[in-house]
Amino acid sequence: MHASFPILSALILLPIIGAVLITVISNKHLEIVKLIAMLFSIGVGGMSIWLLASFHSHDSGFQFVSQHDWVTSWGISWHLGVDGISLFLVVLTGILFPLVILGVDPHHDHKRYLAWLLLLEAGVMGSFLSLDLFLFFIFFEIVLVPMYFLIGGWGYDKRVYAATKFFLYTMLGSAFMLVGIIATAVLARRDIGYLTFDLVTIAEQASFATNTGRWLFVSFAIAFAVKVPIFPLHTWLPDAHTQAPTGGSVILAGVLLKMGTYGFLRFGLYLFPAAAVWAKPVLLTLAVIGIIYGAIAATMQTDLKRLVAYSSVAHLGFIVLGIFAITSQSLTGSVMQMVNHGISTGALFFLVGMIYERRHTRQIAELRGIQSVAPIFSAAFMIVMLSSIGVPGLNGFAGEFLILIGSFQSARWWTIVAATGVILAALYLLWAYQRVFHGEPDEANSTFAEMTLREGALIMVFIGLIGFTGVYPKPMLERIEPSVDKLVEHVVTHSDYKTPTIPNIVVEPHGEKAGE
């Protein structure tokens, strides 16, 4: 059943090769540099779509597995695999990078910018595909370097501060995880008989004493909580997002934050099911605080980009809520929402970037009446924004609805509070839209240029994805669900947790239509 071509390794190695090629080519051949970056990123994107097409939709296990020994004395192997949980994140990564490379002009030092972007892509792909704790840590950590340079080199005024804060904050989280990873492998050796960092082996064969498991879970959870970010570890995010160049923000919001939530699923729930169930109330509470706090903070922002950044805190709160509600629907919704948030927030950052290119400001107070001078731009912004709010018929609704339905069964009161976050999302986004796009344009805004063809094409890709997933989520759901069900079953068999006995609500693709 496995394709003989090691496609997962290629997804990681291809961008690296591209980055190396770009580095060795002289600065004088800028066109060739751009062409290489384009070809390699599109190649990776194409391969990820091919992966999606040849993925067996009802198989819950890991597919396209590739395993080679690496550091044998430590039991570390190059072990890659993809399942329903990681599949769409890989595809999202594959799609977002070429769009960033094609859609945003960094204005200076193209060569280095593109090389860093490709390295970043390799790191992100590696994080989503690794099935070895050591390998995962390497990719999780290596991602910091290109992102650091992207923010620091091509960002706005306070870029160095933001980049350093981002780097150190995330590295501090990873420091705990590194100790946790080593301790996990060392302790698992007693059950397994030999030292291995292999995720599947440890998760299936090792069991940890109650307290040990909790400590280990906490060490992982700190790293992921910083990355997501979960309140109160989120303070790096508004700075990093706001100061990052547009491309950096898109990637940061689109895929980098998902490394945290994905980590919770893959390494939190799967490795330490009992501890995850134990930590459930705390994480649910923090998630709900994040939803409400993110929304309120977003409402008060005067900077459009910062507003979108805080909206990410709120949206990621929903995803964490779904993960720790631990029901099939909530988890499926969370996985879906990871992708949806990547699409809609990625698109929002693109659009905010376009506004900045035209007006050289992101202050809401300085923008007015854009709708009357650039109607197409405004329409695009409106659709993306509605998707972010979670309006039925668009992708944001499908994920959020599943999360709320699933969480309601096992975490009722948290869900009730969280649901108000949906209303708050409408509040801050619509209010921002009203201030920026409605009214009469003043002198500075009356020359706001309409969307160019290139920008339009770029946004059309996003709108296409938003519409398709919103109306017809079935292909996505049927690939996510088997893996999620397997994970829930794993948690149930390895802890005293029982899934709620409420009859399963089958979400048909037309289900949302009915709710509209």
């Binding site: 390497i138 370097v145 080199g153 160095v160 501090l172 420091a175 100790v179 080593i182 301790a183």
Partner: protein, 497 residues
Amino acid sequence: MVFAATLEGPSIPWVELIPILSLLAGTCFLLLVGSLVPTWPRRGYAWVAGISTTVAIVANAVKWNNLRYDNGETFFADVIAIDRFSVLASITICLAVILGALMMSAYLLRMNADGPELYALLLTSAIGALVMVAANELIVLFLGLEILSLSLYLLAASNRDREQSQESGLKYFILGGFSSAFFLYGVALIFGSTGSTKISGIGQVLSGNISVTNTDAMLLVGIGMLLVGLGFKVSAAPFHVWTPDVYEGAPTPVTAFMASVGKVAAFAALIRILAVGLEQRVDDWRPVVWALAILTVFTGSILAVVQTNVKRMLAYSSISHAGFILVGVEAAGHAGSDGIATSMNYLAIYTVLVMGSFAIVLALSGNTDGETNLSDFKGLAKRRPALALAFTVLLFAQAGVPLTAGFVSKFAIIKSSVEANSYVLAIAAMVAAVIGAYLYLRIAVSMWLEEPESDSEILVDPAVAIVIVVSVVATLIVGFFPELLLHATRLARFAPL
């Protein structure tokens, strides 16, 4: 003549001494021929030093190969132990000597002061280091320590045109004298309580049934004094105060040499004393090392934050590296730990990183060897992108970023520590590593994100270029294929008692 017949010295297996003898021959050749023949070909002195060190490396490599099936043995009435541990440390030291000699040649040519003396001192200090790592006897160890230290005092003060260099040498000399006194007094006390100065002998006495209860306090004070003396040499906090001043003032190649060779030798000696001689007293020294380790990692990384001179920054980072190695030493104090192997692994990798980093500092330090402020590194990426990239790799390696040797070394140490259940120490070390990362980021920011202050051309001497390329390539190779080095360090064992 009568006495000569009865006083029989130990038999001398000259073959085992080839590494030391080769360095000694190089020293003598440099000094004798150097004073007789006034003009030597360009880099001639460096070649002599390099060749004699290469012979030492080859001899060590052959010995390593011969030790495939056994752990080595002791010679000269058991005062010198040629085992896999000492051979590995010797190879590390000799490699550092070669890299140091390369940097030295570039430095001296630039200062227009080429001469045999400094190379001879490099070799003698290496002789001291080789004696230290193989010494199985505390007096012999002290001899090695003094040979190493005296050469380093002179090397540190060797730049006569620069006041800081004089200050550095003098400071190092006075404080080093203090620490030697501590060490020697510790030796005396341990001898008093155990009746032996042989490291393996002390171990035998302590593990035997001979009661040492009456002399317990004496032994403990002795252990403490040894730790102070060697703690000074490895620049462990709170004995680190000399490090930044001396590192800053000494000529850059000497700083690199001091930071690598001095540390490898002192750590090897410390590990042998603790693991072989004081194995039975693990419960006494382990808590001390624990405290030293925590203090050292945090002192190094926190104080580095406020520095503005790159050489001082690297000095503090070397303190924090010493703390990491102490974490490994602490782990070695637990039964069944591979802490010794991972400490050796860290030392080998650290040697390469520190050599490469200082080589880049040397390339930038200008004709006075004094332009090492952070502002001198501004915009390096625009002036010499390759140099900036190399320094970035080395700095990120020191910070412990994956796919570099630095990550491998940190990972191995943390793994030993976790296996020994020293979780607090492991977490503290990692947190300190994050604080320390700020330092490397600051240098990276200067190089990549700021505008250059001068546009004078940076000339990189080919010898320095070799050091940089070798260290960067080694950093990446070990980062991607850690097994190569791990395999060797895992075999680092002591000769049987």
